[in-house]
């Protein structure tokens, strides 16, 4: 009974979400507008990371490196007079190309080795940016990045950047959905489950791994490019290791392997941090309260979520919804599969 109706209901939900997304920016208070931009940017990066971890079973502790590469690859030509809109192309392309190049040797490492490799890669990238001062502005940073635009059409205000960002989010989600549902996508899932089984089934494992790695880097690069134009200032300090870890947290909180998980993860983590900041900066807060409060509460939220929903928020919700539906509809292979995948994925790290 529910089966045939489900797609249309789903389409309706997506349409409502899309309309809300579009309607929201102008009515948001100013600080929420830039927050809205950041949630979108983080969702893009996290989506790539989820794809990499959830579908290809690979871990990156250095995703912020590609975010940085995208930002610099977009900003440097723009600073030197190239049309800024070109940056939306150079950012992701350069990030993806570098990922593909380093991916060939790096992806020979697995599990924790790869996690370390990506972490080391980010530290190396940060050193390079800091030392290549003539090109990157060094540790002082790259300033005077022009606003994003084509000809006289320029994005200057947070609202305009919100639209640019969420357009990018939509594009990234559509690409991801297609990748996940395509034949290579199914092969990727096989990769995450068992690499040797996938190889035995004739999946070109090494090539797919590099492709997903490059795709996820491309996402991060795109987000980085928008970030550079939005802030018009970037520096190595904008891309610390902690940011990579933050992306990992967003992916884990939202739930690996889920497109929506990355959105939920990015939104939940960003909003919790923001809320704590607001509370911490209320007048009459004693000196160290903001720090203590924000660290303690953020940590507790993280711990409680991961202990209660170890596979992340979105998989937990879908599992619950599916369980409720189970009475109406036949067995929920998908859910069982998701659970199994989540637990298998957890063995990646």
């Amino acid at each position: 009974m529910i089966g045939p109706r489900a797609p249309s209901r789903r389409a309706l939900v997506v349409a409502v979400l899309a309309a809300a997304t579009l309607a929201l920016p102008p009515v948001l208070p100013p600080e929420w507008q830039s927050l809205y931009v950041f949630i979108g940017l983080y969702a893009i990066v996290t989506c790539g990371l989820s794809l990499l971890m959830g579908f290809a079973g690979q871990v990156s502790l250095g995703q912020a490196a590609f975010y940085a590469i995208g930002a610099y690859a977009a900003a440097i030509p723009a600073v030197h007079g190239a049309p800024p809109a070109l940056g939306l192309l150079t950012g992701p392309v350069v990030a993806a190309a570098i990922a593909a190049a380093i991916g060939v040797p790096l992806l020979r490492l697995r599990g924790h080795y790869l996690a370390f490799g990506t972490l080391a890669f980010q530290l190396i990238v940060l050193t390079f940016i800091a030392e290549a001062g003539d090109l990157t502005g060094g540790d002082i940073g790259l300033r005077g990045i022009p606003p994003l635009g084509l000809g006289s059409l320029q994005a200057v205000t947070p609202v305009q950047y919100a639209y640019v960002t969420w357009l990018a989010v939509t594009a990234v989600f559509l690409v991801t959905r297609n990748v996940v549902r395509s034949r290579p996508g199914r092969a990727l899932r096989a990769l995450a489950t068992s690499e040797s089984a996938a190889a035995a089934a004739g999946v070109p494992v090494a090539a797919y791994k590099v492709e997903v790695f490059a795709l996820s880097a491309g996402y991060a690069g795109l987000a980085g490019a928008i970030y550079a134009f939005f802030l018009s200032y970037i520096a190595p300090g904008s891309f610390p290791i902690l940011l990579s870890i933050q992306f990992l947290v967003m992916a884990a909180v939202g739930g690996l392997g889920a497109v929506w998980g990355s959105l939920v993860g990015a939104a939940v983590v960003t909003l919790v941090v923001q809320l704590l900041q607001e509370i911490g900066s209320l007048p009459a807060m004693p000196t160290q309260v903001p720090a203590v409060l924000s660290y303690a509460v953020y940590a507790l939220v993280l711990i409680v979520v991961m202990l209660l929903l170890p596979s992340g928020i979105v998989p937990a919700l879908t599992a619950r919804a599916a369980r409720r539906r189970r009475d109406d509809v036949a067995p929920t292979e998908a859910t069982a599969g998701d659970d199994a995948r989540a637990s298998r994925l957890s063995s990646v790290l």
Binding site: P331, T332, T335, A336, D339, A340
Partner: protein, 227 residues
């Protein structure tokens, strides 16, 4: 089952689920003292799940397990600690009991004496199976559960090991639960057997009786059984 004596292991109406999948669905099984019982069934029927539940590794969704003694399991695939020596593997088998002397195992498997300093991972499969059985025996069990004794071993080695098990059962009165895909072997050395299919006990009874059952012959013994 022999009348009168209280069985060593009793399993009543056991249900085990993994997520949405039901692995065991109302299983009843019993092993008496000093008995040799076989559990036969195809891949994925729930044999290992049953053993793991009895061993306490898997929590049942429903049902009752009564174990009146110590149980030790020889897991499928041996699962030795490959980077440790044979002797260290054996000694770890005695984690639950205080007595860590390995002499009795060496008496049973004299061949292991010369391998005692070798890394377990470097042994042949047959030798590994000896160590695995020896390691389980170190726990001084009343019931020895052996999961797939014959898997991946040459027939002569299987025969030797099977003789050792029968010997143990006869001499020390140790009960043995033999979980096997190789029904022929299992029915040969055990007095009683259960056939498990898709999480349910399909048949049970004395080995003789099962051996002559047409279903068993067709499904597990490859046609007519020859003595």
């Amino acid at each position: 089952m022999p009348e009168g004596s209280e069985p060593l292991l009793e399993v009543h109406d056991l249900v085990v689920r993994y997520g949405a999948a039901t692995a065991l669905d109302g299983v009843d099984l019993a092993v008496g003292r000093a008995e040799m019982v076989a559990l036969v069934g195809p891949n994925g029927a729930g044999k290992t799940t049953l053993l793991d539940t009895v061993s306490g590794l898997v929590a049942p969704a429903a049902g009752r397990i009564e174990l009146r003694g110590r149980l030790a399991q020889v897991p499928e695939g041996r699962r030795l600690f490959p980077e440790m020596t044979v002797e260290d593997n054996l000694r770890l088998g005695a984690w639950r009991v205080r007595d860590r002397r390995v002499g009795p195992v060496y008496e049973l498997f004299p061949h292991l004496v010369e391998l005692r300093r070798r890394k377990a991972g470097s042994l042949s499969c047959g030798e590994q199976q000896m160590v695995a059985v020896g390691r389980a025996l170190m726990g001084q069990p009343d019931l020895l559960a052996v999961d797939e004794l014959s898997l991946g071993l040459a027939p002569q080695i299987v025969d030797t090991l099977a003789e050792h098990l029968q010997d143990l059962n006869r001499r020390s009165g140790m009960a043995i639960l033999l979980v096997e895909q190789n029904a022929r072997l299992a029915l040969d050395i055990c007095s009683r057997a259960y056939v498990i299919e898709a999480g349910r006990i399909a048949l049970s009874g004395p080995s003789e009786q099962l051996r002559s059952s047409p279903e068993v012959q067709a499904a597990y013994l490859g046609g007519a059984y020859e003595e």
